[in-house]
């Protein structure tokens, strides 16, 4: 993964989460992964197209998803209903969009696809052919993992 792409994603995630949740957040150590990996329970995916292609996954447990949705909506949510899912989608959209804007300022052209959300237990993502950058984010509401995999178009 091109080094120029890393910071925009990390910064955007940091800024947006801090703004919409109003809590302290800390970033864990970044690392690379290429094997298939378990998914925590709720995963939003945003595709990237343009000069490069790839996708960004936002992975969290159901509890964390509910806590984030509650905080963003300003009301206590106990079920992962349509509103809660839409909220998580929106969060994924905001973070990816801001990253892409930052990248565009640097001269890299990306487009994003509408986000989609997956929920379920014991899920696994496998796309062994691309190396993914993992940005772990710790919040009082729980743990969020951002998984970015992009590659230059051949």
């Amino acid at each position: 993964m091109r080094v120029e792409y890393i910071n925009p994603f990390v910064e955007a995630a940091f800024n947006i989460l801090k703004e919409v949740l109003g809590t302290e957040i800390t970033r864990g150590e970044l690392y690379l992964k290429s094997s298939s990996q378990p998914v925590l329970g709720v995963t939003a995916i945003v595709g990237l197209t343009g000069d490069v292609e790839g996708r960004v996954l936002f992975d969290m447990s159901k509890e964390t998803a509910l806590a984030i949705a509650s905080a963003m909506n300003g009301e206590e949510m106990t079920k992962l209903d349509d509103l809660a899912k839409a909220t998580i989608n929106e969060l994924a959209n905001m973070i990816t969009a801001q990253s892409v804007t930052k990248l565009s300022d640097l001269g890299y052209k990306f487009n994003i696809t509408p986000p989609a959300i997956f929920t379920g237990e014991k899920m696994e993502v496998s796309d062994v052919s691309i190396e993914a950058l993992i940005v772990p984010i710790e919040m009082p509401l729980g743990k969020l993992e951002i998984n970015v995999a992009v590659k230059e178009k051949d």
């Binding site: 080094v3 890393i6 329970g41 447990s61 509890e63 964390t64 014991k122 691309i130 190396e131 729980g142």
Partner: protein, 430 residues
């Protein structure tokens, strides 16, 4: 509550390795379930005369005669002698050999995540470290995972795998005394410590250097009256200090420029592709771009430079130099400009390089390369990755392309043809 259920989900989802656990002399061990053919309780093995003491005999497993080995005796652990009673036997399938091993008691099957497995420490007692593939702590119990391929596999077996010979070779203590003497033992210990402390893996790639260095090291340590063994990271670093190639962490000098110009030759070069793995802060990548630009001005150069150290690679695109760090060919080629805090490479040089945060053991996708540079990085990968990546290099290099490894790394002769040009050694595909 949210926390615990999250942990459970995580734990369940992560299981990708199952092992059969058993105990010997009150300690817990494990082997990969894929190596276990079956488990059973057996007694009255047929005694084989003249066999080593840890061979209990042979056993008729539904028509197949298999050797049965007492793992406790083999590892010199105490045995509770219970004459004639049923013993717990693990039937293993190692390569094309089937054999039974007797243990105190077979426990259960435990599923773990491969990530939980930790490297064994060289100071482990009881069982020689060569035979341990890792340790894992799960459910509050610590399991030592035995590497049965190593213990019983072909590598250890003499030409004809006669049963008596198998264990003879595998017995750690005997190997050391009969075959090698104390000197080899220290070398072997150093090898193991290097891999544990610095993940430096001694293989055919670098064994020649390790042996030379060991002699040197012995002299130094003996005159200074210090222990030969590497006791901590500092010792391992000292041992490895001369391993690193010239111009590590600085721009390549003019002698390397001349060597590379000669190695590449005079022919037409339109587009030149370079892979540079383990580029660190980017010195190698910048050097090669300037060298190629000064030697082949008309060509279009593209360098893919990667490193898995995030901090180093992040600083690579904006590398700042002092005037005295810059070799003559870079000054003459007018490749740098003065900026804030020092000299920086010009846009045309930077645009020729893509810096990537990338781990070479993951999939490498690059166009066919004219030059591959991977100095002093393969030695820090395990042997399987070394072999695999060298093969990738071979596939990814053009027929007249050159490979530059660390100056103390030698790729297999059957695949690579050695070329020396001045102070630089490079390889072409054989």
């Amino acid at each position: 509550m949210s926390n615990t259920s999250e942990q459970i989900i995580e734990k369940k989802a992560a299981i990708d390795f199952k092992m059969v656990t058993f105990s010997i002399a009150g300690k817990e061990y494990a082997v990969d379930i894929m190596k276990v053919k079956e488990i059973s309780k057996e007694r009255n093995f047929t005694y084989v005369p003249n066999a080593p003491m840890y061979v209990l005999g042979v056993h008729n497993l539904r028509g197949e005669i298999i050797p049965v080995i007492d793992l406790r005796k083999m590892f010199h652990l105490p045995v509770n002698e219970t004459e004639g009673s049923e013993e717990d036997v693990l039937i293993l399938s190692v390569e094309d050999l089937t054999l039974g091993i007797v243990v105190d008691s077979i426990d259960r099957v435990v599923g773990i995540s491969k990530e939980q497995v930790q490297e064994p420490h060289p100071l482990f007692g009881d069982v020689n470290i060569r035979y341990i593939s890792g340790v894992v702590d799960t459910g509050g119990t610590m399991y030592v995972i035995l590497d049965v391929e190593r213990i019983f596999g072909k590598e250890e077996v003499l030409a004809e795998s006669h049963m008596e010979k198998v264990p003879e070779k595998t017995l750690p203590v005997k190997t050391i005394i009969s075959e090698s003497g104390i000197k080899e033992l220290t070398l072997q210990f150093i090898t193991e410590t290097l891999s544990a402390l610095q993940s430096f893996h001694v293989t055919d790639l670098n064994i020649a250097w390790v042996k030379r260095r060991y002699k040197e090291w012995k002299n130094i340590r003996e005159t200074e009256n210090l222990k030969l063994q590497l006791e901590n990271i500092q010792d391992a670093d000292d041992f490895l200090k001369p391993f690193y190639s010239p111009y590590t962490g600085v721009l390549w000098g003019d002698d390397y420029k001349d060597s590379i110009h000669k190695l590449i030759g005079e022919k037409e070069h339109g587009i030149m592709h370079v892979w540079n793995s383990g580029c660190g802060k980017g010195y190698e990548a910048y050097s090669i771009v300037c060298i190629l630009k000064s030697g082949f001005p008309g060509s279009n150069i593209k360098v893919w430079a990667s490193d898995n150290d995030l901090l180093n690679i992040s600083s690579a695109p904006n590398l700042v130099l002092n005037r005295d760090q810059i070799p003559a060919y870079i000054k003459e080629g007018d490749f740098v400009e003065k900026g804030q805090g020092g000299f920086r490479f010009k846009r045309e040089v930077k645009d020729a390089i893509v810096f990537e945060y990338h781990n070479i053991t993951n999939r490498n996708e690059y166009p066919e390369a004219d030059i591959i540079i991977a100095r002093d990085i393969l030695s820090f990968l395990d042997i399987d990755s070394q072999t695999r990546i060298l093969q990738e290099f071979k596939n990814g290099l053009k027929d007249d392309g050159i490979l530059i490894l660390g100056s103390n790394e030698i790729p297999p002769e059957r695949d690579w043809f050695r070329m020396e040009e001045g102070s630089l050694t490079a390889y072409k595909k054989a």
